[in-house]
């Protein structure tokens, strides 16, 4: 049975993370280091060690989810742990740093971690919200199906317009040749095409038909119906692309910044002990 990653195994990892956070906060409150809380106290080293281990574990998820043969836990479990342990890092790393922020490598690593976690939070939001919206929007179709449907509508438009005026034909030609779904990153995320060729064709055909006669011929009416069907389909497909893009885009921050974080973390640990 499908189980949300958030409630996986009766909130097992949520509970574990809460336990981790609460113990860290209690330790932070009890321990009173002579030079104030910072990464260099025994508690600082402990929290730092745990946090570094968690970061490596969370990054290992990227490998684990690809190794289908692996039997080290279920991928769902890994994902659930990834989310909750990742969130717990906000507290653990902050306590590790003792709320110290400065213009240095150490703070860079901290903020990279925060950005990675924030992008991950958006990822969780996207995974919870968009699949549902996508299903609703697609109405049982796939992207390939929608494109095929569009091509079919194009063919019908062309046939219907064959005996209509050249202007209308040119509009149909433009519509067929220039309509595109998605496109650049921004276009995909926007879910709209400000120069939508189908909308343009619809307006043009409507205008030319009106110029000829207010009473449209059967072909013209049919053509307008076909075009509005296509327009609806095009918008739906673009929305689909938008949802998909929203579900994917955060990963383009999450993953590269994770590697930047990994580099900063390595440099941070080396730096701390290099200049002990």
């Amino acid at each position: 049975m499908h189980q949300s990653l958030l409630i996986y195994s009766k909130f097992r990892y949520f509970k574990f993370s809460v336990l981790l956070i609460v113990s860290a906060i209690i330790a932070y409150a009890i321990v009173d280091p002579v030079d104030g809380h910072n990464g260099g106290t025994w508690l600082g080293y402990t929290l730092g060690g745990v946090s570094a281990f968690l970061i490596l574990l969370l990054m290992w998820f990227g490998i684990r989810k690809r190794s289908y043969k692996s039997s080290v836990g279920k991928v769902e479990g890994w994902l659930s742990a990834h989310v909750y342990l990742g969130l717990s890092l906000i507290i653990l790393a902050t306590l590790h740093a003792g709320f110290e922020i400065s213009w240095n490598l150490h703070t860079l690593a901290y903020f990279l971690m925060l950005i990675v976690i924030l992008s991950g939070i958006f990822g969780v939001y996207a995974y919870l919200r968009y699949p549902h919206l996508m299903t609703e929007n697609r109405r049982g179709r796939t992207m390939g199906g929608m494109l095929t449907e569009m091509a079919e509508l194009d063919r019908e438009c062309r046939e219907t317009a064959s005996q209509l005026s050249d202007e209308i034909n040119r509009a149909i030609l433009d519509c067929i040749e220039n309509t595109r779904i998605g496109g650049s990153v921004w276009r995909q995320l926007a879910g709209k095409d400000p120069k939508c060729a189908t909308l343009d064709a619809y307006t043009r055909v409507k205008k030319y038909s009106d110029e000829l006669s207010l009473e449209h011929s059967d072909e013209e009416r049919r053509l307008l119906t076909l075009l509005s069907n296509k327009l609806e389909l095009v918008q739906r497909a673009r929305r689909d692309v938008q949802f998909k893009a929203m579900m994917d885009i955060w990963l383009y921050f999450h993953v590269p910044l994770s590697f930047a974080l990994l580099a900063a973390l390595i440099a941070h640990v080396v730096a701390v002990f290099f200049y002990w």
Binding site: V34, D35, G36, N38, G39, G40, E100, S102, N104, L105, H106, L108, M143, L147, T148, M150, A151, D154, R155, R158, A161, S162, Q163, S165, D166, N169, I172, L173, I176, E177, N178, T179, R180, I181, S184, V185, R187, Q188, D240, K244, A245, D248, I249, L251, Y252, V255, P256, L257, F259, A260, A263, A264, I266, A267, V270, A271, F273, F274, Y275, W276
Partner: protein, 574 residues
């Protein structure tokens, strides 16, 4: 006119099918509309695209309704046809087979530019996934990883080991390892702190004391090796207590473990006169007063530490009852002849300019207003050396005798009689006068030393009675600080009244050591434990760490020290 049209269709496997048709009309019109003589169904062709006219047996082609045609690859509106011409009508190629004058027009038509698959085109135009937009997680991951590793790991490390890399940053506003800086430097270290290697001399090693001693040569270690084996401090480095990178006010540890680690059970580990201590609030012995004692054999003062609980008696050589001076009924005072004066502490005790201690009591400044050294109306002897007192008395009475006219019935006549100016004295007269002066001086001196003045405060013993007499005044020695190992400062206790701590009103004798015991201090001062209404007081609030007297950290300069100076290095010296 009539014309023979062949529609050619190429097969995918090769070969051409040909469909022939005879068309006739006024002219042969080509277009998408079905009423054209030649119907071209592709929607890229206009409804009426072109027409071929027969003009007196010659054939001409003309574009219709603003469409363009191509005649032998050239875009044109019209032209005469000749055999072999190729006319382009939209995606169609029209090849003239025969257009000879007077003969029947004959041409082939072939769709040379297929419309293609709409779906395939739509798919190729559309980009429905981010993976095909040129964004690459892998590429960015590598790039960021390499940039961060290079800037923040490789660069600082290479600068550490390679002077050439360091030199690249000489004029730069930052150093290669600036990003590694973990916090603000202490104000005293800021001028060299950009050079991390000034302190961090070896990779993966904590900062050693020798880095500190580069500058701090005149700092004293904790104890003198002749009293204490410094090796016992072997894990203690300068940085154990002095925490750098903690802001401009250099951070020094103040916790109880700082001293308590050793001093909690000090007596078990080293032979010492010191008592164990950990926390001022609950684990600290009562105070030992350091007092002077007079050694009669050597006739010298020696210092001795005596616990306050053992009622130490200080031999200062002075007699001074505080209680009499602080009599609540007041004292007779020269400046208040009609009243009694209530004395206050600061009538006699003046703080040092630093505010730490009190200036030594000075007779001329602090006592003389009441304790006059007058021996006659308006005449005083100096406070100080005995010989000066006696000679000043002898001088005074000698002058008086020589001047004559002294109203003393027991004095010789020459002293009693007034003399005229210029009248000379005989030798006998002079002798008599001088003898009288000596007797007077002796009488007054005896009165001063043993009677009403000196012996009030000093212990005076007469050693010789005839002239010149000789007295001995017991030496006076008041200790500068009863608690020399604690840095008490009066300045910080200005809100208090003196008698809150110094029980002077009840002190009858100058042997009393008038300092409060630890319980008195504990009324306000707690230890490191946070207690309501008590000041958190740590060891270093009163005690110093760097207290060795005849030994400096810099004394070890030049020695091949690899280990810590405050601790392990001492073992090497042994």
């Amino acid at each position: 006119m009539q014309s023979k049209v062949s529609f050619l269709t190429r097969k995918s496997r090769g070969g051409v099918t040909r469909k022939e048709q005879l068309v006739s009309g006024e002219s042969i019109r080509l277009g998408r509309s079905t009423d054209n003589e030649v119907h071209l169904s592709d929607f890229r062709v206009s409804l009426s695209h072109a027409a071929i006219h027969d003009r007196n047996g010659r054939y001409y082609v003309e574009a219709e309704s603003g469409s363009d045609i191509r005649i032998n690859t050239k875009i044109a509106q019209s032209g005469r046809l000749a055999t072999g011409d190729r006319i382009g009508v939209g995606p169609y190629d029209v090849e003239i087979i025969c257009a000879e004058e007077g003969q029947q027009l004959e041409f082939t038509i072939e769709l040379v530019r297929e419309l293609g698959d709409d779906l395939a085109k739509l798919q190729s135009r559309s980009n429905t996934s981010l993976t095909t937009t040129g964004l690459s997680k892998r590429r960015w991951s590598w790039l960021l990883f390499i940039v961060v590793t290079g800037l923040f790991l490789a660069l600082p490390i290479s600068a550490f080991y390679n002077k050439e890399v360091r030199d690249l940053f000489i004029d730069a506003p930052v150093t290669a390892d600036i990003a590694w800086k973990s916090g603000e430097f202490a104000a005293a270290h800021r001028f060299f702190a950009d050079d991390c290697q000034a302190c961090h001399q070896k990779a993966f090693e904590t900062v050693r004391d020798k880095a500190c001693v580069t500058c701090h040569t005149n700092t004293h270690p904790h104890a003198d090796p002749k009293f204490f084996e410094l090796a016992k401090l072997n894990e203690t480095r300068c940085a154990t207590c002095h925490k750098e990178h903690n802001g401009r006010n250099a951070l020094i540890r103040r916790d109880e473990a700082l001293c308590g680690d050793c001093h909690t059970n000090l007596t078990d580990t080293v032979p010492t006169e010191l008592e164990n201590a950990r926390d001022f609030g609950n684990k600290h012995a009562n105070f030992n007063a350091t007092i002077y004692q007079f050694d009669k054999n050597t006739k010298a003062f020696v210092t001795k530490r005596v616990a306050l609980t053992d009622n130490p008696e200080e031999i200062s050589g002075l007699t001074f009852p505080h209680d009499k001076h602080m009599n609540p009924d007041g004292l007779k005072a020269p400046d208040l002849p009609w009243d009694k004066k209530q004395m206050r502490c600061n009538d006699c005790h003046t703080p040092e300019p630093s505010g730490v201690g009190m200036q030594p009591i000075n007779m001329e400044r602090d006592c003389i207003a009441c304790h006059s050294l007058a021996f006659e109306e308006g005449r005083t002897v100096p406070h100080g050396k005995l010989e000066l007192v006696l000679s000043s008395l002898t001088d005074y009475y000698g002058n008086k005798a020589l001047a004559g006219g002294v109203p003393d019935p027991n004095a010789p006549r020459i002293v009693r009689n007034r003399r005229r100016p210029g009248q000379k004295m005989t030798k006998q007269e002079r002798k008599a006068a001088y003898q009288w002066a000596q007797e007077q001086a002796l009488t007054i001196a005896e009165d001063l030393f043993e009677g009403r003045v000196c012996s009030q405060c000093h212990t005076v013993t007469q050693l010789r009675t005839d002239y010149p007499p000789k007295w001995e005044i017991a030496p006076v020695n008041i200790i500068d600080s009863w608690l020399p190992k604690a840095s008490f400062t009066h300045k910080k206790h200005e809100t208090m009244v003196c008698t809150d701590c110094h029980d002077a009103k009840k002190s009858e004798d100058s042997t009393d050591v008038l300092i409060p015991d630890i319980d008195n201090c504990r009324q306000c001062h707690g230890g490191t434990e946070k207690i309501a209404n008590k000041l958190e007081s740590t060891c270093v609030d009163c005690h110093g760490f760097h207290i060795a007297e005849d030994f400096l950290l810099g004394d070890r300069k030049g020695m091949d020290i690899d280990m810590d100076i405050s601790g392990t290095a001492a073992r090497m010296e042994k």
